[in-house]
């Protein structure tokens, strides 16, 4: 079918030069076979159908293994096979060939079933005409070709996905590995009592930065893992278990700061949310930002959890984490929108130098079926601190 052109979006087939299409007709009724051949013989001058006819399914399948065929027209009632089975056996033998089922008026149900099973179309013999037959054949060939192209593209995309996961894994693993001696030597120097204090202080900086690089790799890994996890496979975790862990970790990381954390949440019962271990990374990242970006030595963080119901049947725990730090300008706030974790927004965010943690959290929240945003702690005055709001699906 190399010479035939493609059907365009508006449905017109463009045929620029004479095309030859080889049609295999599997039909045991000589009268029906002659009718089809006649109809296809006089279509138009730029399109030539070369019809080959066989009487049985076995002969038909045999013929498809020979010289190239562009489409198969098959009658479901043949001497060696009856009904839907005829189609299924043929389709199994030639899954990549477009098959059009020919049927009697009283057997349309079987034909419809065949289309569900992979036939491109069906034609009722008593209602055949040349134009309809031609159009059905051409479109069937075209549809089958697009299906094949789509399958190929999907396969290529899956391969590319696996490759980029592999590259990412190497990157994360090998950089963490390389950080290992850097951290060890820097710790050695910073702990060396014989080294000058300025040298030790510089080494301590290397230690700090290496730790940050290492935890950054961990966050990205967590996100990448979350991307590969189907939504319903995330465990539910209790926020009441998470907050003390996260608060403890952040306090340990920032001994230089006086951190006070106030909680306001329902006293009774667990606060279960979807997201498994990633909820910990998410909360840890938000609290870490609140403390780390504060210029002052005293940091006050208020954490509030409230139940939220949407559309009558969707239940969330809404977590609000407010700090009294330097605040966030509106342009940055806009990036913390989970629905916006589209590739376009991500790329834009990256090119604008948006803090990677912001993009990571927003992507994570979206993956858990939640949403979130950033607002000013004091509405209208961003310089008075930031409030990060995250809504996560409530579990039982």
């Amino acid at each position: 079918m190399s010479a035939v052109s493609t059907a365009t979006a508006n449905g017109t087939a463009i045929r620029s030069r004479t095309a030859v299409l080889r049609i295999l007709l599997v039909e045991d009724n000589p009268g029906d076979a002659r009718l089809v051949k006649e109809m296809l013989a006089e279509v138009d001058k730029q399109l030539v159908f070369r019809v080959e006819q066989v009487d049985t399914l076995a002969a038909g399948i045999e013929r498809t293994r020979g010289e190239k065929i562009d489409a198969v027209l098959v009658d479901l009632g043949l001497p060696d096979s009856k009904g839907l089975e005829t189609f299924y056996r043929l389709h199994a033998a030639v899954p990549n060939l477009p098959v059009i089922v020919l049927t009697m008026l009283n057997d349309e149900d079987a034909a419809i079933e065949a289309v569900r099973g992979g036939a491109q179309d069906y034609l009722i013999k008593s209602r055949l005409d040349g134009e309809l037959l031609t159009r059905v054949i051409l479109y069937s060939i075209e549809r089958k070709r697009s299906e094949g192209a789509l399958r190929n593209r999907t396969f290529e995309a899956e391969c590319a996905q696996v490759r980029s996961e592999t590259y990412f894994d190497y990157l994360a693993h090998d950089i963490a590995n390389l950080l290992s001696p850097i951290l060890a030597y820097a710790e050695l120097i910073s702990d060396d009592s014989e080294a000058p204090s300025s040298t030790r202080a510089r080494a301590a900086r290397i230690v700090e930065q290496t730790r940050r690089a290492s935890s950054f790799i961990l966050s990205l890994r967590a996100l990448e893992e979350a991307e590969r996890t189907p939504f319903d496979e995330f465990d539910f975790v209790d926020l009441k278990d998470m907050f003390p862990l996260v608060e403890g970790r952040v306090r340990e990381e920032h001994p230089e700061k006086q951190i006070s954390v106030n909680y306001e949440m329902p006293v009774d019962g667990a606060l279960k949310v979807a997201g498994g271990v990633h909820v910990h990374s998410l909360l840890d990242g938000i609290l870490e930002n609140a403390v780390n970006y504060s210029d002052s030595e005293k940091v006050t963080v208020s954490i509030r959890v409230v139940p939220v119901e949407e559309a009558g049947d969707k239940f969330f725990w809404q977590i609000e984490i407010a700090d009294d730090g330097p605040g966030m300008v509106d342009e940055l706030k806009a990036f913390f929108v989970p629905s916006g974790a589209s590739s376009e927004r991500l790329r834009k965010g990256i090119s604008r130098g948006v803090a990677s943690s912001l993009l990571i959290y927003s992507a994570l929240v979206g993956r858990f079926g939640g949403s979130g945003w950033v607002e000013d702690r004091v509405p209208g005055d961003y310089a008075k601190g930031t409030k990060v709001v995250v809504k996560l699906p409530r579990g039982v």
Binding site: A172, H173, D174, A176, N177, L178, L179, S180, P181, I182, L183, A184, Y185, E187, L188, D191, T210, S214, L218, R221
Partner: protein, 116 residues
Amino acid sequence: MVIETYREILRIYGFEVVGWSYNGEEAIKKFEMLDPRPDVIIMDHRLPMKNGVETTVEILRIDPSAKVLFVSADTSSRSPALSAGALGFLRKPFELKEFVATIKQLGEKSMLAASG
């Protein structure tokens, strides 16, 4: 590079490094030949020939009392390593103090072999 770093650090902290290898199979052979056996074996996961988990299984088959400390940047190896019988897991890059403290905890004597 990583192995050299460990060897230097371990020496500084007063441990004796009695052997090392760059792949799993060689590690098993060396372990078999060492007499006395090391007090602690430090094992990476992504190794040529045999990975750390496979090597740990083999070493424990030879000597069920062997003490393996897993150190890897591959966090997904933590659970299989512990199931295979490793007594500890440290994610790379690890804190020096934690590394040294864990080895001290595991080994009563000051002899060990490094692998990875």
